[in-house]
Amino acid sequence: MAIWNIVSPVDEKIRKKLCAGDSISLSGVIYTARDAAHKLLVEALAAGTPLPFELRGQTIYYMGPTPARPGQVIGSCGPTTSSRMDAFTPALLAAGLGAMIGKGERSAEVREALKKHHASYFVTYGGAGALLATTVRKAETIAFPELGAEAIMRLEIEDFPVIVANDTRGGDLFEEQIAKYRRR
């Protein structure tokens, strides 16, 4: 299980080298989107209207933060449950999405689509929103401000900790690690 320092958007060549269980210190740019924003993104794709950001190769983080206090870059900002986005994810991957960050397992359809499109699914630490906030250098709402905490934000991060959950070859952190410690 390797340890990486990687910049987002994560190049396809690098994505192909990552293995489930690898730790990554991620820096660069990521975009937030949760349930409501996913619905709007997929509707825009279906209608052929432009997306609020160029999706190709980018990283989406399933997160809706607490409001920043004056002087803070962002509030608490940990991951939400990824499986709620499963229904929308294959369409986004087909449109070029490179990586996602969330918490918990993905559906079989998403895992297949990850292999097909050489994309990665990362997990970060659920319930560690305060700690993760210390890695965000800049945060800016770029679309759907009417959604409040569910708006799409562009984040600049530095050494944001993630673990590769699903790699481009079908490796699965959850399956592999849980099997190791299961005793019944």
Binding site: S76, T80, A130
Partner: protein, 281 residues
């Protein structure tokens, strides 16, 4: 008859909302540290280290522990000798939530109309309020901000009476397994056993208010808690579902008499950020 101004209730609720969302109880922090000592998986230990560090950062940086500041659940034990003055009690609690979530820079996660427009109410109201009338002239206000990830994985099972203890253990195991990493383990598992469907759900939620790891005062419940915990920690799900030997920190079970045709079992999962606090006025 003692009188209390509902403005005091508003202030207490606002303070509880802010306190619970930024400071984890010592009992929960201790349980996380103990889990860190016992966890066999290196990835699991790393996760627990981050969660423990998160508690420190939340405190020093004045940030909520989790971005999900929860659905606001208020538990009131009202002494029957107490009289409320100065306004509407329900409105005063909602005002406390509004004030606490706004002034505390907490996330507002409540949407109006659950199955159509889902527009955010903007102030995290309305709260869920559970009332109990008790002897005395005091009021105990408990507050739990309940995260969506864990609440979504909760379950009501109407078991056949013959299912007994084994049926309960199997149903809890299946629920926790399905939840995987989604409910943010290591979990606190609240069980409401018996009564009726709706009462069992409330019992399971209230069981989560017990100081973490205190066994039930009922020896049969306490034994069941031990058996369920042992079984759950064999699942291998581990901290945040990343694999490991600590999937649950504790099981809290409450039971009540029920109809002879029924064995209601309510399972309420609580994430590792098991936030709640209470105050007596």
């Amino acid at each position: 008859m003692r009188e209390i101004d509902v403005k005091d209730i508003t202030q207490a609720v606002a303070r509880l909302a802010q306190k619970t969302n930024t400071a984890l109880g010592d009992d929960v922090l201790e349980a996380l540290k103990k889990a860190r000592e016992n966890e066999a998986s290196p990835i699991g230990r790393e996760a627990l280290d981050r969660l423990i560090d998160n508690v420190r950062v939340a405190k020093t940086q004045n940030l909520p522990l989790c971005q999900d500041c929860g659905a606001p659940i208020v538990f009131l034990d009202i002494g029957q000798e107490l009289h409320f003055t100065g306004g509407d009690l329900n409105a005063s609690i909602a005002q406390g939530i509004r004030q606490g979530y706004t002034e505390g820079y907490l996330r507002k996660s409540i949407v109006a109309q659950p199955f159509t427009k889902r527009l955010n109410t903007g102030d995290n109201t309305p709260p869920i309020i559970h009332f109990e009338i008790v002897p005395g002239d005091k009021i105990k206000i408990g507050f739990m901000p309940k995260g969506g990830g864990a609440e979504n994985m909760s379950r009501l099972v109407m078991l056949k009476p013959g299912a007994g203890e084994q049926g309960i253990i199997d149903a809890v195991e299946s629920t926790v397994k399905t939840a995987g990493g989604n409910a943010c383990p290591p979990l606190v598992i609240g069980l409401g056993i018996g009564a009726t469907a709706e009462k069992a759900m409330i019992m399971a939620k209230k069981a989560l208010l017990r100081p973490l790891g205190w066994p039930s005062s009922d020896p049969e419940n306490a034994l069941l808690e031990k058996k369920v915990l042992e079984r759950i920690n064999k699942l291998g799900i581990g901290p945040l579902g990343m694999g490991g030997t600590v999937t649950a920190l504790a099981v809290h079970a409450e039971s009540r008499p029920c109809h002879f045709a029924s064995l209601p079992l309510s399972i309420n999962l609580q994430c590792h950020s098991a936030r709640h606090a209470e105050v007596v006025l």
